[in-house]
Amino acid sequence: MKKTLSKIMAVGSLCVLTLSLLSGCGKSAPKSGSAGEVYVYNWGEYIDESVIQEFEKETGIKVVYDMFETNEEMYPVIEAGGVKYDAVCPSDYMIQKMIENNLLAEINFDNVPNVKEIDPRYQEMSKSFDPENKYSVPYCWGTVGILYNTSMVDPKDVPTKWSDLWDVKFKDNILMQDSVRDAFMVALKSLGYSSNTTNEEEIKEAKELLIKQKPLVQAYVIDQVRDKMIGGEAAVGVIYSGEMLYIQNEVKDLGLDYSLEYVIPEEGTNLWLDSWVIPANAPNKENAEKWIDFLCRPDIAKKNFDYITYPTPNKGAFDLLDPELQNNKAVFPVEDSLKNSEVYKYLGDEVDSLYNEAWKEVKSN
């Protein structure tokens, strides 16, 4: 046995070393770029990798690229300051929280001329969390809506309101978002309240409603809604508009005999924005501004859109798209369907705790 193990160790170590060497060849040079570095912190799968390489080539700045999955996970990292990032891409309400906690630096827009490519509509929207547009540049935006499977839902039962997600007909066929704000938004909106409410009574009501819904819910997921719906696992799900293009393409490619349709509920929904910000302790602020400027270039924004498929707020990029895409209502909804929709606000630590506690109760039931 000793001999066997020794042989395994020898061959094994050889393999490990070979694999490391091979993979070592594949990776880009670890040395700093000639023009310095920029530390980028973004959502997972939220950029076309070739964009990073193009940026490095054009500017000579080395990009250290890191990813997070939730705003709540990103915040403590920036707050603790143990790791210093230069450009981060949080969501609306989180940006507000970071501003109020003095974690962000004002962007020098002289270094970001391409900000003019952003459609003014979204600059307006940004004012709800970045009152003077001093700290953020929009990257992606979208809505939250109901996705349903045409073969699993009767035409007369097609969901049009959030409250349809409490329909017993959909028992064990409902996918909800595993996120405290999104889940509560659904409940609050269906009750006619604001998704930014700080009223304890309203939060409690929404919590009770969510607890009532739980036996009907198949699972609380985040972006797995997409995969599961494509797989025909559930009849209805709550999903981000950004997934729609991907879903529509997949359904076509797979030749499925059902289609997945997107609905913005009547009660109104959440309008969300993910924007680039620069932390106050960023060591490479100017490089960060160059990075943001680069991403706002219409051709780059379009390239990202092609890969991520999340709606772009970049007017220049939008103009470069096929008319078919421009008219895709799921990806780029009409103004009308967006009445009653709100952007999330940061509600303060105390109210956040209220929501978190209520959410824990829902999960625990």
Binding site: M1, T4, L5, I8, T70, E72, E73, Y75, P76, E79, D178, V180, K214, V217, Q218, A219, Y220, V221, K228, G231, G232, E233, N356, K360, E361, K363, S364
Partner: protein
């Protein structure tokens, strides 16, 4: 060789990277955000959601551990009796699945268990009724058993292999039948392995959160989920540490059990 020289590096390492971090958890667990001493974090385990999460976790990991034991013991016996004494080969066959990433393995079970997944596909083709295990606690138990079974098999196998065949022959010569051999010879001699296996399965199963998210549809809140959320989403390190301190009680119990039943370290996995 000087004992101090040999153990020095390890002792320093232990202090720096095991004991001090532990002390920090104790510190955070027993203070609140402003550094004031409080028992609130530890006592919060009695709040309804936390208590329920803890009970659920205890229950599910207990069931998983028992299932692992029931599956592993016969397996170890079979492996032993088939003379598969190419010891390392067996070890590898069971360690091998661990070379595929834990997350991917668990995610693969999603593909297998889903309503339109692989298992149901096969069942439908055989005109059998479909199973609906996904997103239930049953799926969580399956995930736990799957991921931790090797940790139960290896120690028991090792310990069984050390039992001399002559002992069993002697017992038979004295008139024992198979059942008696099992319960009066094999079991008692394999206790170190069983204890080792139980602790290697029960404690990780108790604290998992990935399995309940991926296979339980995130509908079942286990104590591992609570702790993870307090650290990553709630930014409440004090509460998370407090709850972790409570969990460590189980670790201490496990250590006590090992000290009692496996003094000589016979039931190790390798």
């Amino acid at each position: 060789m000087s004992k101090k020289l040999l153990s020095g590096p390890y002792i320093m390492w232990m202090i720096g990277f095991i004991l001090i971090p532990l002390a920090l958890i104790v510190y955070y667990g027993l203070t609140d955000r402003s550094g004031v001493f409080t028992l609130a974090n530890v006592l919060s385990v009695t709040s309804p959601e936390h208590a329920k999460a803890l009970w659920l976790s205890l229950g599910l990991s207990f069931i998983s551990t028992v299932l692992c034991l029931i599956l592993a013991y016969p397996l170890a016996m079979v492996l032993r009796s088939r003379g598969m004494g190419q010891g390392s080969f067996i070890v590898f066959i069971f360690i091998l699945p661990m070379w595929m990433n834990f997350l991917l393995r668990t995610l693969a079970w999603q593909t297998l268990l889903e309503k339109n997944g692989v298992i149901n596909g096969i069942l439908t083709a055989l005109h059998l009724p479909n199973q609906n295990l996904i997103n239930t606690s049953g799926a969580i138990i399956l995930g736990m058993v799957y991921n931790f079974l090797p940790f139960m098999v290896l120690p028991i196998y090792n310990v069984l292999m050390k039992i001399d065949d002559n002992v069993i022959s002697a017992a038979r010569d004295l008139g024992a039948n198979s059942v008696q051999v099992l319960f009066r010879i094999l079991f008692p001699l394999s206790i170190p392995g069983i204890v080792s296996g139980i602790t290697m399965v029960f404690v990780p199963a108790l604290t998992t959160f990935v399995i309940s998210n991926l296979l339980g549809g995130s509908k079942i809140l286990l104590i591992g989920n609570v702790i993870e959320q307090e650290f990553t989403k709630g930014s409440n390190w004090n509460l998370g540490s407090g709850l972790s301190l409570v969990l460590m009680i189980f670790i201490l119990i496990s250590m006590a059990l090992i000290a009692k039943y496996d003094k000589n370290g016979e039931g190790t996995a390798f």
